[in-house]
């Protein structure tokens, strides 16, 4: 059931396709935009178009950049023989903010996750192996997310990079977060009582 005009509906649909934006929030944003002056909305639209037009992957480390290679990859002040492997460009910014790391990066754009259709070929794993194979790298630091997928990806990369004889290390992480296990045996009991069978 659509109660809005086609233009409003289109905008709501486009906005609600963004992560963390539900239909309700999208509606709120659309009505907010409609109340704004033209220039303001034009400014937002221009920024979005420019974003897509000028930002691309760095051909060396695959982070987001406007100039290729990126400023980190071309900086004369970085230690070029150390690579830090991360899942997302946002991880690069997070590590950069600490100011502790002076090496280069390699962004995988995810972790091995068959349930989401992500295998080794969907990630920037081959280019990483290529970088190490080409020489000049002495240490690879794994800084993937503390999830099971992150752990398994680290394990996969360790196996893949071992033949090159470089030093392989990982950053220390705390206890993984985001566990959502159900422990209530009562819940299981009630499921069984309701006659539903348990999946193995």
């Amino acid at each position: 059931m659509t109660i809005f005009s086609p233009a409003i509906e289109r905008a709501i649909e486009a906005l609600s396709s963004l992560p963390t934006i539900g239909r309700k929030s999208a509606q709120r944003l659309v009505f907010h935009l409609l109340r704004q002056p033209n220039e303001q909305v034009q400014h937002l639209a221009d920024a979005l178009v420019a974003l897509k037009a000028s930002v691309r992957y760095c051909s060396m480390c695959f982070t987001f950049t406007e100039q290729d290679p990126c400023t980190i990859c071309t900086s004369p002040n970085r230690e070029r023989e150390i690579l830090c492997v991360v899942e997302q460009p946002s991880d690069v910014f997070a590590i950069e903010r600490t100011g502790e790391y002076r090496g280069l990066y390699h962004v995988l754009h995810g972790s091995l996750d068959p349930l989401r259709g992500v295998g080794a070929e969907q990630l920037k794993i081959e280019p990483l192996i290529e970088r190490v194979r080409n020489g000049g790298v002495t240490e690879v630091i794994f800084a993937l997310n503390p999830t099971v997928e992150g752990e398994v990806t680290t394990h996969y990369l360790t196996k893949a990079l071992q033949p090159f004889g470089v030093r392989l290390t990982r950053i220390a992480r705390g206890v993984p977060v985001g566990m959502d296990l159900e422990f209530a045996d009562e819940a299981t009991l009630s499921r069984a009582l309701a006659g539903r069978s348990n999946v193995q």
Binding site: L112, G119, E151, F183, A192, N198, Q200
Partner: protein, 377 residues
């Protein structure tokens, strides 16, 4: 630990009720619908953030109210006081806070005030499918060891991911290998912990059952790993982790073709079999209803002893309607036992009336009258 006071607001039929409790055995009586079980339920929510009954939080809110609040005052074994507040609002969700450290999460709450629950649903522990006994063991171990919680999480994730890869067919061999490694790792930890648990649990259970003396052969929780069909030195008294790992790897190798065909993992602790036995036979096949009820109580006491030892905190026992369907001999037996053990673990018992209890004066008795009865019941 001792629950000293419980404040209930708009929880089930309790509009605004405060209960004060003493250490020892607390008997809550009253007709159906006056909110006996709700008191036990509320304490369980303070322990693990949810009810032991299959209900949603919305169903726990009093009719016409928008949310409930449970404030539980407990005293540590060494005397320190702690207050746990659980607030639920239909619009805003659940908020947990403690006097020790302000707001907290359900994850952090678990283990703070350990509880052991016995309801009529627990008969499933004997007659239900193996998954029920696996999750019984998992719940105890997860409360006691956060590393076990982590292993369960790794195992569940790796199992799903690996099954997905198997379903995708050939061409993912090196990926399948790393998921297999992860699954073996997590499985080893789970099996080792379960193994150690069962050995210790059976020792305590044996002593407890002997004291209860209900004319059954030795009660044990038997742990079998039928999927571990190659047995090179794995099933010894002290489980050798390296042997287990090697065996699992060999099995994974050998079964790979079958697994690809069936598109599911054919080995791992998700296939463990746990059975409560009397002598060598499943308990439910040889025990009467009364004996099963006493055996359940013995199992719950064993759980309490295990948790007490592992966490070094005395758990609280919540026994919902335990005297139902028992003959007078068994009621007397259970009653004495509850009173004796409640010196160690504060025990809450609900019952329709105190009439059948010979030693009712030894309980702290909280009779709930008709006045508290809600229209909702």
């Amino acid at each position: 630990m001792t629950v000293t006071q419980l404040d209930l607001e708009h929880f089930r039929c309790h509009t605004h009720t405060t209960f004060a409790f003493e250490p020892g055995a607390v008997l809550i009586t009253g007709p159906n619908g006056v909110g006996k079980t709700s008191i036990l339920e509320a304490i369980n929510i303070a322990s693990v953030s949810k009810s032991f009954l299959p209900v949603s939080d919305n169903e726990l809110v009093e009719f016409n109210a928008s949310g409930y609040r449970i404030t539980t005052h407990v005293r540590h074994d060494l005397g320190a006081a702690l207050t746990i507040s659980i607030e639920y609002d239909q619009a805003g969700g659940k908020r947990i806070s403690t006097s020790a450290g302000g707001p907290t999460t359900a994850q952090e709450l678990i283990g703070l005030v350990p509880c052991v629950v016995l309801t009529s649903l627990h008969r499933e522990l004997f007659i239900g499918e193996p998954a029920i006994r696996r999750s019984f063991v998992d719940r105890v171990l997860a409360q006691c060891f956060s590393s076990y919680k982590h292993a369960l999480w790794r195992h569940r994730t790796a199992l799903r991911q690996r099954n997905r890869l198997l379903a995708l067919g050939h061409g993912h061999d090196s990926e399948l290998e790393v998921w297999t490694d992860e699954l073996i790792d997590a499985s080893c930890e789970i099996v080792q912990r379960r193994w150690q648990f069962v050995v210790r649990f059976n020792r305590i259970l044996n002593d407890t059952a002997q004291e209860l003396d209900f004319n059954l052969e030795t009660i044990t929780l038997q742990y079998e790993l039928p999927w571990l069909y190659i047995n090179d030195g794995v099933r010894s008294d002290s489980l050798d982790l390296e042997a287990l790992r090697t065996t699992m790897r060999a099995i994974a190798q050998e079964l790979q073709a079958v697994e690809r065909e069936r598109m599911t993992t054919q080995w791992g602790p998700q296939r463990d079999v746990l059975t409560f036995c009397a002598g060598q036979r499943p308990l439910y096949t040889v025990a009467s209803q009364g004996q099963q009820k006493l055996a359940l109580y013995a199992i719950k006491l064993t759980e309490a002893a295990y948790i007490h030892h592992a966490l070094d905190r005395a758990p609280i026992l919540l026994l919902d309607d335990v005297f139902a369907d028992l003959d007078s001999t068994n009621i007397g037996l259970l009653e004495s036992f509850i009173l004796e053990r409640s010196r160690q673990w504060q025990t809450f018992v609900s019952a329709p009336s105190a009439a059948s209890l010979r030693r009712r004066l030894d309980f702290q008795h909280i009779p709930l009258g008709k006045s508290a009865e809600s229209l909702r019941a």
